[in-house]
Subunit: 305 residues, 2 copies
């Protein structure tokens, strides 16, 4: 067993799911949790997300050999400060943040001499809070580790082992590349979804009730993404600014090109793009990263003949 005692700081969707997944997959490992919100601590206790709830962050990490910070990326620095007094020198400090360069920097600055190995499990739902967690969240999902140069190999191996035990497939890459990849696969999609849902709700020509009624035409999928936790996502955009702006400008350039194609009636340019994008979908289905049933299996597709 790579770790004997895991401290989870922040008991929302991710933190709660880690607690439940440890109980299921690593039953010998002790879990202790802390959340800055006393109501969340009470709820986590009631739900049994971890074995022990501590009422103080430094207390929570005392004796832990792995600490996972599960707070919004903008709160990572303060969380690191808060745990510092209780931290064992041998412990691994990791996190689950969606951006990695600035988080890694903040943790390294606040915890000099400690084993900081940032991580990002690419898993989640649009739900948030302690009730949203579930043990299988990481099953078959990727977890990206971004160890700094010179990270302890043994500690890194232990963290890889931990995430694999929770059901994830682990990839190691540098933080800068992570931030670029996630900008395009996650951050920009969220930004677009939030924006178009906002655009739709501000229209004067189309009533909000109509937007809701006719959402099955494509819009509803965007609303699911745009229902994600606002604090978490604000922090992601503030902390992965450069990569997000870079990817956004590419997207804006491509969207302008499509605008031009629509304006000039260039059906060929549209058909070329619309055909090409099917290949990416095929890749995602082949690699088991999505549900292959049409419309995510929302409908009952019994072809009753």
């Amino acid at each position: 067993m790579p770790f004997e005692r895991v401290a989870i700081i922040g008991l929302g969707l991710l933190g709660g799911s880690i607690g439940l997944a440890v109980r299921e997959h690593l039953p010998g490992v002790k879990t202790v949790g802390y959340d800055a919100d006393p109501d969340v601590r009470a709820k986590a206790r009631e739900l049994g997300l971890v074995q022990t709830i501590a009422d103080d962050p430094a207390e929570a990490v005392r004796g832990a050999d792995l600490i996972v910070l599960c707070v919004p990326v903008g709160a990572m620095r303060d969380a690191a400060k808060a745990i510092a007094p209780g931290l064992s020198p041998d412990a691994v400090v990791s996190d689950v943040g969606s951006s990695k360069q600035r988080v890694g920097k903040a943790l390294a600055e606040e915890l000099p001499g400690h084993h900081v190995i940032p991580a990002h499990p690419v898993a989640g739902t649009e739900q948030s809070g302690p009730e949203a967690g579930f043990a299988s969240l990481f099953d078959g999902r990727w977890c990206i580790l971004t160890p700094p140069d010179g990270a302890d190999e043994g500690k890194l191996a232990a963290l890889v082992h931990f995430w694999k035990a929770l059901g994830s497939t682990v990839e190691v890459m540098d933080a800068e590349h992570h931030d670029m990849v996630l900008a395009v696969t996650s951050h920009i999609p969220h930004l677009i979804a939030y924006t178009i849902v906002g655009t739709a709700s501000d229209l004067e020509e189309v009533r909000r009730s109509e937007v809701i009624k006719y959402s099955a035409g494509g819009f509803r999928d965007f609303t699911r993404i745009a229902a994600s936790d606002p604090t978490m996502w604000r922090d992601v955009f503030l902390h992965n600014q450069d990569a997000v702006l870079e990817m956004m400008d590419r997207f804006l350039g491509d969207l302008e090109a499509m605008r031009e194609a629509i304006k000039t009636g260039d059906g060929e340019a549209m058909f070329e793009l619309f055909s090409r994008t099917r290949a990416i979908r095929r890749g995602i289905l082949e690699q088991g990263q999505d549900d292959a049933r049409p419309d995510f299996g929302r409908q009952d597709h019994t072809n009753d003949q």
Copy 2:
């Protein structure tokens, strides 16, 4: 029974689903189908999508009191021309196209003196072709009718009755308003999804395999939408040009504002938008237009405690 014999022209996802839904919900009604592609006709015969397959469009509509054109909107005019020789003067000619002003105009021009009542069932999946159809596609979904001024009230009532029998809730509105509403709830979401999937697949810094691997962070939902039928969607953008361009410019303006917020680190503006968009999602779930389970129920959420 409002209609005794329904002719379906075009036997893909929509046409096939109508055939199957009529068999299930209106078992006394005769169905005859035609598709320009002989392979599709053969497949439709094999699958039993309709009772009779005709090898000629004019033949297919002979004696039918309802004709539903289920071809891409760019093919509507030619389909109307092709059925004209066989059309009964009393028959209702309708369609399932996603844009309504230009389709209505094309049908009225090609079929003067006939009862043209355009329709748009707001239902579909990312699949296409005769094998994609299923009887419950229209269950609990909206169907929008856009009758021209002076449309026969009795014929309109019969078409409303028909779509209700297939499980839909029917709304009547003018074609111009339809095109504006659908531009925002369906056309722009598709355009955005196609574009971002294209942007991602063109990147040099991020490999395509990485985009696929880490798609669970939000991107995969866009790829589902971007796997929709390219011909159908090219035609939608060519035929709903004005409304799409108008909505696109609103979206682009809002996206520029978010770009500025990210650039200047304006967390408040982001938080305000990201909080506001949750209300729309709530409305969609309350009205049963989406699956309330987190992540569309992709994961098993058994909280095993």
